[in-house]
Amino acid sequence: MAECLTPGPSSVTPPLASAPAVSVILVVRNGAAYLAEALESLCRQSHTPAQVLVVDGHSSDSTVSVAESFPGVTVVQQEGMGLANARNQGLALARHPYVAFLDHDDRWLPGMLSLQLATLEQQPRLGYGLCHLRFISAHGEPIVPPANRAGASRRFPAVTPSGLVARRSLFDALGGFDPAYAIGCDAAWFTRARDAGIPSALLEDVLLEKRLHDTNLSNRSAINRSEMFRIAAASLARRRLPQSGNGGS
């Protein structure tokens, strides 16, 4: 394992009686600008991952060389296309009982792995754990997101792969990420897990910094909205809800 990926001191995480092995999957395409920050945040974890997989989506920038500069990181080339395919390829290569995802432009805070793993170890009924996140700018500075993005709070439930630590077996039972969704494959997976009634934990701790980019809003909104509607429709179909008025779900 990488020299940097060794246990370090932590003031926030209780020691685990045992050290459950976790595979960390980092999928990236042309992400050299932020990849080192993501991997460095892995290095600062008090719990050392047993496996770090970088699935590269045929980047044309220096993503691969950045990843390979971190000893202990295994870089694999994506065999298919798209985000879901890359995540699934990482899952197929993950060989440890726990799986975590870290997107290349996000950063974990120390204690992300140890706190999540401790929770899952202590509560075997849980299928996965989530933490809270705070947003950072493209330059890595903490920012308050726009008002229409989860209100005015500074911390949010991290219902996103970078906030997730799950049992590997959960993906065997529930399936991986649906490549039918270009952007929404993550939301689709979480919705499917909820519809299936998979028990989960949401830690109060802010353990993830998620980067907000300035993007082309028209393209993003069109794709995102279309997929979110499809995800909602699929969820409704799965749950076969009776049309019973204002029964919240």
């Binding site: 220096s62 432009d105 949010f156 980019h213 993007t215 393209n219 993003r220 509607f229 919240g248």
Partner: protein, 152 residues
């Protein structure tokens, strides 16, 4: 029908909601809360009228004709649904009435039961919808950051 007539100039609150119809089911997402709603059957038919901006009286007439039910029954159903849509901020009062009103007709619903339309509320994706994935997709099917973010 007095109250329904007071709703004659209602419009979809495009600032706060987005909507799509998928396989005869209307799904409406409230962009500020992440709550979403669905409408089926008669509710979907009412929405068809709201989408084209016809007054509620025209929707009532169309329902009454298509389903073969009394205008009073259709009127009460529409009235209740509009009240729910207003309460959820899905509809708002229109700034002005449409310049011209196209005839609004529904295809024949003979054989379909006239069920009271209800707005069903769902919150199971609220946090996901509020986090709002933040990426475009490039030609390889990958989310991408903005060009300046990609620059090395």
């Amino acid at each position: 029908m007095t109250t329904t007539q007071s709703h004659a100039a209602l419009t979809i609150n495009a600032d706060k909601v987005a909507h799509e119809t998928i396989e005869d089911e209307v799904i409406i997402i409230h962009l500020e809360t992440g709550t979403y709603y669905n409408l089926v059957d008669v509710g979907r038919d009412v929405w068809l009228g709201l989408e084209v901006g016809v007054p509620s009286q025209e929707i009532v007439k169309a329902l009454s004709s298509a389903y073969g039910v009394a205008p009073e029954l259709a009127g009460e159903a529409v009235e209740a649904l509009l009240a729910s849509l207003l309460a959820e901020e899905i509809l708002v009062a229109a700034d002005s009435s449409p310049a011209s009103i196209e005839p609004f007709k529904l295809s024949d619903r003979t054989g379909c039961p006239f069920t009271t339309p209800e707005l069903t509320i769902h919150t199971n994706m609220a946090d996901l919808l509020m986090l709002d994935p933040i990426h475009d997709v490039d030609e390889q099917g990958w989310p991408s950051a903005s060009p300046q973010d990609r620059a090395l």
